[in-house]
Amino acid sequence: MDWQALFLTLRLASITTAILLLVAVPVGALLVLGRSRWLAALEAFAALPLVLPPTVLGFFLLVLLGPRTGFGRLLTATLGHPLAFSFTGLVVGSVIYSLPFAVQPIVAGFTAVNPALVDAARLLGARSGRIVLSVLAPLARRSILAAVVLSFLHTVGEFGVVLMLGGDIPGATRTLSIVLYNQVENFDYAAANRTAGVLLGLSLVALAAIYAFGRTRGGRRA
């Protein structure tokens, strides 16, 4: 078992999930509560990674963050090193790649909240931030949990973006899915079995946790 890759993968997934939670809750609230016609563009952007091949996304990010663009050169000058082929670069790529897996469940959860409750909060003087924290988020807690677990698992299993943007640098960008790919390429099926088993176990445990939470909270409607 490549423990270094396992811990790097878990670290990447944890950081990505934390960032996504901070991003997806306000984005979801904006999409549900907002009225601007431009929100359709934001919704499309947030959903784009669902349909875009990971390698395409990885390629665009590689170019954008690399020395070929002004933005990439500015980032390199600011940070002192290029973002591509670094752990930080992987985090950026993972956040974008897993964005829809955080935003979509949260939007679905917020949309399911009775609009009369939002009106009631508004009438009582609550502004958008308070409505999100005191009404939408508590009532959509199961959707938020689903967003957290899906984002985490999606990042754990990420391959195309990681390979394009991060390469295969041990301790920096070599995640479990890269290790699995290498093991299969080397015909080391016993090791590949163990790695795949860890990925499968993680997914099963996390998904079971979501469903168990839903049931302990009074059935499937929470």
């Binding site: 009225r35 009775n114 009369a116 909060a121 009438l123 003087g125 508590p138």
Partner: protein, 236 residues
């Protein structure tokens, strides 16, 4: 005094009226679909999207004015709306629901205000309960307490006592009217039940298909309804 001018559309429904309400309690009377709820929601600052032109002046303060682009947010109008559906926050206790609009008060003042409001509506003993454990009538009482807690200057009631039995509704209405008079809160009550208009002795604004068709004392405006109610009572 409340001065209103609205031109609003929602789907095929068109609300167009211009009027002035000067009495402490006004009943907006009309059949279902006449635009009573739409009118109250617009006055509360909701549903701005369906407004074409609007002007709302309450005691000299502009709440809405499409000419100058003024549309005060719902929570900044000192206006409370109590609808037929109580819409209590299901994850909060009755006490927390009533306290929701009192975030600006310190804890002691908030607790005192919540107790005062729950006592007014006869729901003091429900403070620790969750909305799921309330009957329809209890939930409507709590919704009324929650709306009154932030001390609104204008109260909009959209058939808020529909789940209360007649005696309980009459008793609550009497207490409420007294409290509102004491605190100088002007009230608009939407209803399709003529008895509400006769019980409150209020001025009546008759709404039909989004237009104001009559305004004045209940005995004058609702003569047909009064005759119908008398006929029913005589038949018993």
């Amino acid at each position: 005094m409340l001065e209103i001018a609205f031109d609003a559309r929602r789907g095929s429904f068109h609300l167009q009226l211009e009027c002035r309400f000067t009495t402490a309690w006004t009943v907006i009377f009309g059949p279902s679909g006449a635009g009573k709820s739409t009118l109250l929601r617009l006055l509360a600052g909701l549903d701005r999207d369906c407004v074409h032109t609007a002007r709302v002046l309450y005691d000299g303060r502009l709440l809405s004015d499409s000419v100058s682009g003024i549309w005060l947010a719902p929570g900044r109008r000192a206006t409370a709306l109590v609808a037929q559906q109580p819409a209590l926050f299901p994850h909060l206790s009755v006490r927390a629901n009533v306290a929701y609009g009192l975030a600006h008060l310190d804890r002691a003042a908030r607790t005192a205000r919540v107790d005062e409001m729950l006592t007014l509506v006869g729901a003091r003993d429900l403070a620790g309960r969750r909305p799921q454990h309330l009957s329809g009538g209890e939930a409507q009482r709590v919704a009324l307490a929650r709306a009154l807690a932030p001390a609104p200057r204008l109260l909009l009631l959209d058939e808020p006592f529909s789940a209360l039995d007649g005696t309980a509704a009459d008793a609550l209405l009497e207490r409420l009217q007294s409290w509102l008079r004491e605190h100088s809160v002007q009230t608009l009550q939407a209803t399709h039940d003529a008895t509400d208009a006769f019980i409150t002795g209020a001025e009546v604004a008759l709404l039909r298909e989004g237009r104001l068709s009559a305004q004045g004392p209940a005995a004058e405006v609702l003569t047909a309804e009064r005759a119908r109610l008398t006929r029913h009572l005589n038949a018993i």
